[in-house]
C-alpha cells in the first residue's frame, strides 16, 4: 500500500481539512475587506448568503481539522516505543526528542498545535454564526464588519502558524 492509514489521516488533517479552512478564511477575509466599498455594501442578499455558506464551511472544516488532529493523528505521534528500540521512525515524538536539534519541534511546535487551533475553531464558529444570523447587518454595520474581519484575521494567522509548525514536524518525523 502506497500510504498507510496514519499517513492518510495526517494528509486529511493537514492538507484537506486544514488547507480548506485556510482557503475559506482567506476568501472570507477578502470578502469582508471588499465590502468596505459602497457598491458591495449595497449589494443584494445573495452575496450575504454566499459569505454565510463560506463561513459555515470554514468553521466545519476547522472543527474537523482539530478533532481529527487531536483524536486520530496525535495518538500515533505520541505513542511510546518499546524499551530498547533503536529505529524510532514509527514513533515521531520520540524520534524528535532523541535529537537535541529537533527537540523544539515537540516542545514548541507540537505543544502549540495541541491547543491554539481550538481557539481558531471557536472564533470561526462565532464568525459563521454572525454571518448566518446577521448577514444583512454585517453588510451595513461597519463596526460589526470590522470586528468580524478581525476575528477572521486572527483565525487565519493562528491556522497558518499551526499549519507551518505541522509542516516542520511532518518534514522531520512523518507519520508513516
Amino acid at each position: 500500500m502506497l500510504f498507510s492509514d496514519r499517513s492518510l489521516w495526517t494528509m486529511a488533517h493537514g492538507i484537506v481539512l486544514g488547507g480548506a479552512a485556510l482557503m475559506g478564511l482567506a476568501a472570507a477575509l477578502f470578502t469582508l475587506y471588499a465590502r468596505a466599498s459602497k457598491e458591495l455594501a449595497a449589494s443584494d442578499g445573495r452575496e450575504s448568503r454566499a459569505l454565510a455558506v463560506l463561513n459555515v464551511f470554514t468553521a466545519v472544516a476547522l472543527w474537523l481539522t482539530v478533532i481529527v488532529g487531536t483524536y486520530f493523528v496525535f495518538p500515533p505521534y505520541r505513542a511510546t516505543p518499546p524499551e530498547g528500540l533503536t529505529d524510532l521512525s514509527q514513533f515521531p515524538r520520540s524520534l524528535i526528542q532523541a535529537n537535541p536539534d529537533t527537540v523544539w519541534l515537540h516542545a514548541f511546535a507540537m505543544e502549540t498545535k495541541e491547543h491554539a487551533p481550538w481557539i481558531a475553531a471557536m472564533l470561526a464558529t462565532a464568525v459563521a454564526f454572525i454571518s448566518v444570523r446577521h448577514g444583512l447587518k454585517l453588510r451595513t454595520d461597519p463596526s460589526l464588519r470590522a470586528m468580524t474581519a478581525t476575528l477572521v484575521a486572527i483565525c487565519f494567522v493562528l491556522v497558518a502558524f499551526a499549519s507551518l509548525l505541522g509542516i516542520f514536524v511532518n518534514k522531520v518525523a512523518p507519520l508513516q
Partner: protein, 108 residues
C-alpha cells in the same frame, strides 16, 4: 439559510454574545493550559491514546458553549453597545492565545 438571516434592524445581542463567548472560550483554553502546566489542575485524559490534551480542550470547549448559551439567552432580543464587547473580547482572545504558547509556561 435565508430564513435564519435577520433584518438589518434586528437586535445585535446574539452577535455580541457570540463574540464575547469566543473570547471567554479562548481565555478558558489559555487558563486551563496555564493552570495545568503550573500543576494547579490536572485535566484528565478523556481519550487515553491522545492524553491530557483531550481533557483540556474539551473543558475549554464546554466553558465556551456554556458562556455562549448564557449570553445568547440573556442578550438575543436586546441591542448591546459594542464599544465594551469588542475590546474586552479581543483582550480575552489575545490572553487566551498567549496562554497556549509553551514559552509562557517556562515563566511559571
Amino acid at each position: 439559510m435565508a430564513d435564519t438571516m435577520r433584518t438589518e434592524d434586528s437586535p445585535n445581542g446574539s452577535a455580541m454574545a457570540s463574540i464575547l463567548a469566543a473570547g471567554i472560550g479562548a481565555m478558558a483554553m489559555g487558563l486551563i493550559v496555564i493552570l495545568n502546566e503550573a500543576g494547579v489542575i490536572a485535566a484528565p485524559a478523556l481519550y487515553g491514546p491522545a492524553g491530557g490534551v483531550t481533557g483540556r480542550t474539551t473543558f475549554a470547549t464546554v466553558a465556551w458553549l456554556i458562556a455562549w448559551g448564557v449570553l445568547h439567552t440573556r442578550w438575543k432580543n436586546r441591542d448591546i453597545a459594542p464599544r465594551h464587547i469588542y475590546p474586552v473580547s479581543l483582550v480575552l482572545i489575545v490572553l487566551g492565545i498567549i496562554g497556549t504558547l509553551p514559552p509562557i509556561w517556562g515563566l511559571l
